[in-house]
Amino acid sequence: MTIPIARKNVFQNKKRAAAAVSGIAFSVLLVFMQLGFLQGARTAAAALFERFHYDLGIVSERYKFIGAPDRFDKMRLTQALIVPEVESWMSLNISNAWWKDPDTELSSELMVFGMTLDQRFIKDPAIRSGMDGIRKNNTVLVDTYSNPGYGDLSVGREVEVNEKTVTITGQFKLGVSLFSDGCVIVSNDNFFRLTGNDPREFNYGFLRIDQDADPQVVKEKLKRILPNDILVFTREEMIQQEQDYFISVKPVGVIFQTGVVVAFIVGVVILFQVLNTDISNRLNEFAILKAMGFKSWFIYGIGVQQALLYALMSYFPALGFAYIVFKVVHALSKMPMDLTPAMALLVFSMSLTMCVISCILGLQKVRRTDPAELY
């Protein structure tokens, strides 16, 4: 009995309902977009560190982020093996370089990642399978998300890195547009040759520990025995600190968080307005219901149901639309845009919150419905 009243109220004027729903839906969509960009920046910031299997990471005490990692003495990794739980290490090295497409002679910025070629540490399937191809001198794996200015990236092609000719032997997908135009992965031997960096110093050391060892415990042990010119992070901390740098220090976070807040407020205001109009137009009907003996809470219930209906009818199209927009933005910009279930849930609860706030604000009028006023 109760649901039909709310539904009939909402649908009585279809055009008005459509306008209300689309208004709220667009503000929900805006919330989705802002969260998507925020999430995208988070993912992009730590993308590299998700490509590897490791339990602990070692960086210089002067470490800032992937773009300014500084270096530490490679001896620290050997020293780390003193801790019995530490099984093995690999190193990852990063340098800025120049890429040149020989066909167009166009120079672009490049990030070169040099690494120990050890299967056990590599999570990314494309990098794993491409690993054997880069054991030879002057061979690279190239990121297909690199800038189009890089030219043809097909396997077998010869290009220039730091004015040395190298052969592309494989491809992977990473996306480093936050830091550079593109990137390649090479073996450590090739890395030090191509960049001229000192091979006695590393940017990152990744450690694998015994399966049943606690990374936090091993981390504390390492901190005790190693000199304090390095920092030790667990895998989660590594990723966390990389994201924090972008989200909080840079600060990308506040840009999108402001967007979320403003879009949320707009949603509340629209929903409140719709509810308020609906209720004031129907004060007479509500008064009649009251006169018929229905209690106030029953009438409140109708209002709450209406708000819920609006919120639900807006949320689902916004969700679908957001899914499409995320795909389009990813296709256009290569930015990682994932509509995760967690995000969908978060926005859903935000929609419900919109509904609650606008009910609290909008249903005040119901109290004032007075059957006596009807006549």
Binding site: F26, L29, L30, S177, V249, I255, V269
Partner: protein, 381 residues
């Protein structure tokens, strides 16, 4: 008989009839204006912040290595290029600016983070700074540096007179400037070329980041630029500070899909605005159906009624824009203070958003207009 003042008052009276509802409607409009202002603000803010250094250059032309595709690229050129530029009659002075990224120790946390250093002859006044006299005096003392007070918090609190540790050497902070961080630079330290050499940076003084070319008053800058470029080896770039600024903005837009990110937000804000405007007018028309029907019965034309609705839409745009702008202005201030992103609210940008608001409301009004002509005098009874 129906003079223009009458028409306006009909539109205004219809709108003002229910004041609380109007206030609510306007706040919704205002928030869509805020959305558009914010999205535009971030887009411009990031671009402006990335290019900020260019606006400080106190020079007619700036020489850089050909590979310096953007301002924060660490490509350096041979200092001899600067000497070669001095060979042109119009050139009065070429100031070498060195730059580097070095680790600075946060005096509070003890953690070292990379900071941007610029070095130059102290008397050359290479940056347009409001306090350039005191900066010059401070830098003249070897071992003294000037710290950018708007650097990010990761470098800690730095006061004049304090000693800071850069690359394991101690320097005295002789003063503060306000340059500001961006997405490439978290903080800046200025020092003299003598201090730079004393610090034994690996770059030394042979490789220069920027050569600031100053010319005789009245020189034909574009012609001079062309002549220098024709004569010197092809490994340099020569640009006016304004050209560098524009190039930097273009580079930023290309490097990060800012246009897409903030463009999408702006379009959604605009659509919400159209919907809200439509909704407000639709409700207003529904509420005043009897009045509109009466007007029609009195012989007012449909054109008059349509005009009334469009005028209401325009009123809404103006009335919604003003609080939106005020709120946006406050937010801009807060964001600039908190993030260091330059949030300029220039007249041009205000005008642009105002135009968007008007178009937004006009579209909403035009969609809503159909309803008013359905007002039926017969339904009054």
């Amino acid at each position: 008989m129906f003079s223009s003042t009458h028409k306006i008052s009909v539109a205004r009276k219809m709108l003002l009839h229910k004041k609380t509802r109007l206030a609510m409607s306007l706040s919704a409009m205002a928030f869509t204006v805020v959305i558009m202002l914010m999205e535009m603000g971030f887009f411009n803010g990031i671009n402006d912040s990335q290019a900020r250094l260019a606006t400080y250059f106190n020079a007619d032309l700036v020489m850089m290595d050909i590979r310096s595709i953007h301002l924060n690229k660490y490509a350096t050129m041979a200092r001899s290029r600067l000497m070669q530029a001095m060979g042109f009659e119009e050139v009065v002075e070429v100031v070498p600016v060195y730059k580097g990224l070095v680790g600075m120790k946060n005096p509070q946390t003890g953690l070292t983070k990379v900071i941007f250093v610029m070095a130059f002859p102290p008397d050359s006044n290479p940056l347009k700074l409001p306090n350039h006299e005191s900066v010059r005096a401070a830098l003249k003392k070897q071992g003294t540096v000037v710290f950018d007070a708007s650097s990010r918090k990761i470098f800690g609190k730095v006061e004049p007179g304090q000693d800071i540790e850069i690359r394991d050497r101690t320097y005295r902070v002789g003063g503060l400037v306000e340059l500001g961080p961006n997405f490439s630079i978290d903080g800046t330290i200025l020092m003299s070329d003598a201090t730079w050499l004393w610090g034994r940076w690996e770059q030394g003084s042979e490789r220069v980041a920027y050569g600031l070319v100053r010319t005789r008053p009245g020189s034909d800058i574009p012609a001079l630029k062309q002549r220098i470029l024709d004569r010197l080896p092809k490994d340099i770039l020569l640009l006016t500070p304004e050209e560098i600024r524009k190039r930097e903005v273009l580079h930023t837009i290309k490097a990060v899909p800012l246009g897409a990110i903030f463009g999408v937000g702006m379009i959604i804000g605009f659509i919400i605005g159209v919907i809200i405007c439509y909704q407000i007018l639709y409700n207003e028309i529904t509420d005043h159906m009897p009045q509109y029907a009466t007007l029609r019965a009195m012989g007012f034309s449909d054109r008059f009624l349509r005009k009334t609705v469009v005028q209401e839409a325009l009123w809404l745009s103006v009335l919604g824009f003003i609080p939106g702008l005020a709120f946006g202005y406050l937010l801009y201030g807060m964001i600039e203070k908190y993030t260091g992103i330059l949030m300029f609210l220039t007249t041009g940008r205000i005008a642009l958003i105002f135009c968007f608001t008007i178009v937004m409301c006009a579209i909403g009004g035009l969609i809503a207009v159909k309803r008013v002509t359905s007002a039926d005098p017969a339904s009054l009874y």
